[in-house]
């Protein structure tokens, strides 16, 4: 069929089954927007910033497991989208971002709103394309979706010059990709898997170390089964929260810089790490030379480059977590003796009793951790929780009772403030039936606050709970511990009127200073059905603990909450 390049873009989006596109128009992408206007097979959400469009597509992808799609114009439209691409790249989130480009004849002339999009995005995309002829467009779009979602997922940019979207040509959307240079491996090597199973059977203190890859490969049921069959304890990274489920007795906790004492000690004392889609990030390992000194390592990862990158691995298995765990289970079932690890489980239980994850609750001022626990009590399993970056993020990860993967959505790898709100909009688009709550800070929320308008316009009743400490709290905490309390540029005492801000954009606001007020506000927000700010005044100087100081050994944690109830 003959059609314009712009129509081809829309047809490809439809053929891929995409129901929602997030974006922002401009000169170079206008041809495509003209076609969007003419169709109603998918919805377009106009965010109020390109960064937010990409984060929204990202939140949609994380919540649903499908490819998120965002669309931006050339030049500043594209550069605004870069933080979104980098955020998705670091967390391996499947996105296709389509950007307009100046016409082919102007490329290289410093034309109006020309920027080298493929050059800028090369290090923060899984792959990218500058389309050079209309003929290539259908194939490139097909490849973009395939590359984004297959193997280790990631964002793909397709940069399309304006004259190509305007040109007419023959359209056949390929039903297969033909990429001889790209063949992701899903099935692990059987011999290696067998050896790994032997190692588990012979270990005394095995530990499942679960990372974001477990979420991406939708492996959680099999992983719970693996833990259960062997009665093997498990720790989760920040990206894997929810895989084991809050009530699971084998779940020891989150590990890493702000991990629980028991989880970090488990990692320090295990004799066999079974790494499932985790990548030994520095925020997890602490000082590498002190990391898991007694452990052999089974490393299962779909990306061979993750294996052996930071630690030496005894049993490397390149493959999809779900596929490999399934295979492991079939071999392990008859062989494993759960009693063998009984002592190990008791040791870990003892560690948990010794230093459980705690805070000192208080009647004079709300403790931020209380807010998280309370949300958990009130909406628990029902809600999808997104988050920004800072102390509030860590408290959410520590104290929320996550019961399933894809329930917890946060920027782990890049640590992007401003991610939470637009990601929540995307998650809500993906799951309209679910309550979506963004747990955010008084710093972070302002980094995409304009999305109040998007939310109000599109009736996306996302609830933003602002844990308001009048600080860039996480930076303040480091200043307290490591910079002699010199609070350089972290005091946020000057604040907007949050309630009025929300209302000005068509939302609802609550200012909360007591626990009762919080309960009322959250319940009203859930019933109210409008985008909401709940501004919760919390203890200003509360610290996130435990804490492994950057570069320190994982077993050396700052533990005590010394500040009792001093406001």
């Amino acid at each position: 069929m003959k059609m314009s390049g712009a129509q081809m873009v829309c047809e490809a989006i439809i053929a891929e089954g995409v129901k929602t596109v997030f974006g922002y128009p401009g000169g170079a992408i206008m041809n495509v927007y003209d076609e969007i206007y003419k169709q109603n097979a998918f919805r377009h959400i106009l965010t109020r910033h390109e960064q937010a469009a990409v984060h929204a597509a990202d939140g949609y992808a994380r919540a649903t497991g499908e490819v998120g799609v965002a669309m931006v114009t050339s030049g500043p439209g594209f550069t605004n989208a870069v933080t979104g691409l980098a955020t998705a790249y670091m967390d391996s989130i499947p996105l296709v971002v389509i950007s307009g480009q100046v016409p082919l004849s102007l490329i290289g002339t410093d034309g109006f709103q020309e920027i080298d999009a493929v050059g800028i995005s090369r290090p923060c995309t899984k792959h990218n394309y500058l389309v050079r002829s209309l003929e290539d467009l259908p194939r490139i779009l097909k490849e973009a979706f395939y590359i984004a979602r297959s193997g280790r997922p990631g964002p793909v940019l397709v940069d399309i010059p304006k004259d190509i979207t305007g040109e007419m040509g023959e359209f056949h959307y390929p039903n297969k990709v033909d990429l001889p240079t790209y063949k992701p491996r899903y099935k692990g090597n059987d011999r290696q898997i067998k050896k790994a199973v032997e190692a588990i059977v012979n270990a005394k203190k095995p530990l499942l170390y679960i990372g974001g890859g477990a979420v991406l490969s939708d492996a959680y049921e099999l992983i719970r089964e693996l833990a259960n069959v062997g009665q093997i304890p498990a720790v989760e990274t920040l990206m894997a929260r929810g895989v084991m489920g809050a009530e699971n007795p084998l779940f020891i906790g989150m590990l890493g810089m702000h991990g629980s004492y028991a989880a970090n000690m488990a990692m320090s004392e295990t004799d066999l790490i079974i790494s499932l889609g985790a990548r030994f990030d520095d925020r997890v390992t602490g000082k590498l030379s002190e990391f898991a000194r007694y452990a052999d390592i089974i490393h299962i990862d779909i990306d061979p480059a993750n294996i052996g990158k930071l630690v030496d691995v005894d049993y490397p298995i390149v493959g999809d977590v779900k596929t490999v765990v399934e295979k492991m289970l079939s071999m392990l079932r008859e062989k494993v003796d759960p009693d063998r690890y009984q002592v190990w489980r008791e040791i870990l239980a003892r560690y948990d009793e010794l230093h459980p994850l705690l805070y000192n609750d208080c009647d004079d001022v709300i403790k931020p951790q209380w807010v998280i626990e309370r949300i958990g009590e009130l909406v628990g399993e029902e809600a999808i929780i997104t988050s920004d970056v800072g102390q509030h993020q860590m408290w959410a990860a520590q104290f929320y009772p996550f019961d399933r993967p894809r329930q917890w959505i946060n920027s782990g790898g890049l640590g992007t403030m401003g991610f939470g709100f637009p990601a929540a909009l995307g998650a809500k688009m993906g799951h309209p039936e679910k309550t979506v709550i963004n747990i955010t800070g008084d710093g972070s929320i302002l980094m995409n606050v304009q999305e109040l308008v998007t939310a109000a316009e599109n009736e996306l009743p996302v609830i933003n709970v602002i844990l308001n400490n009048h600080f860039l709290g996480m930076v303040r905490q480091w200043q307290t511990f490591f910079y002699d309390k010199r609070y350089s540029e972290t005091d946020l005492s000057y604040q907007p009127n949050w309630k009025m801000l929300a209302e000005a954009c068509g939302g609802v606001g609550y200012d909360v200073t007591t626990k009762e007020e919080f309960d009322t506000a959250l319940k009203s927000a859930i019933e109210g059905g409008k985008v909401t700010f709940i501004n919760v005044a919390v203890d200003r100087f509360e610290n996130v603990l435990p804490m492994v100081p950057a570069g320190g050994a994982l077993y050396n944690m700052l533990l005590e909450h010394k500040d009792q109830c001093d406001g």
Binding site: R122, P123, K126, L130, T181, D303, P304, G308, K309
Partner: protein, 156 residues
């Protein structure tokens, strides 16, 4: 860990951006490039890149894996048993002792390839290490200009 020299061949799709992807990978991840050559493989849609790099065992392993991870990469060969060649062109003033230089060239698989009224150009093609020796050997004739091609390699 000790640093080692490695010659790596990368077979990539012959398409736009591919050189930038490879060199960007080295720059972005802080890997060394001693030399990099690239040319299309005759009768195919692929190009052959030869990269000479240095690093410890973990770095070399990462380089190979990261190269492989690039979408247009078809194959990465970490050479062990290889034939390795590099070419050098060296320009001398016409006053220089051409016969001596020619004799040296022959020892390094080369010859005089061009001569003009003011200068002549010598060429040698040999292993990178021997090319370095050749350059050292002709230093005393005060060469006017030296151009090395970078290494190409083929597994035996």
């Amino acid at each position: 860990m000790d640093k080692v020299r490695r010659v790596i061949s990368v077979i990539v799709a012959n398409e736009a951006q591919v050189l930038a992807r490879v060199s960007g990978l080295f720059a972005g991840r802080g890997y060394n490039i001693d030399s990099l050559t690239v040319a299309p493989i005759p009768g195919s849609n692929f190009s052959h890149m030869t990269i000479v790099t240095r690093g410890n065992r973990r770095v070399i392993e990462q380089i190979v894996k990261q190269l492989h991870k690039l979408i247009p990469t078809y194959k990465v060969i970490e050479h062990e048993e290889m034939v390795e060649k590099e070419m050098v062109l060296i320009k001398f003033s016409i006053e220089s002792p051409i016969a001596e230089i020619q004799a040296l060239c022959q020892a390094y698989n080369g010859s005089i390839v061009n001569a003009g009224p003011d200068m002549f150009i010598a060429m040698a093609a040999d292993e990178a290490g021997r090319i370095a020796h050749f350059i050292e050997a002709v230093e005393r004739y005060h060469p006017m200009e030296i151009v090395r091609s970078g290494v190409v390699a083929m597994e035996r």
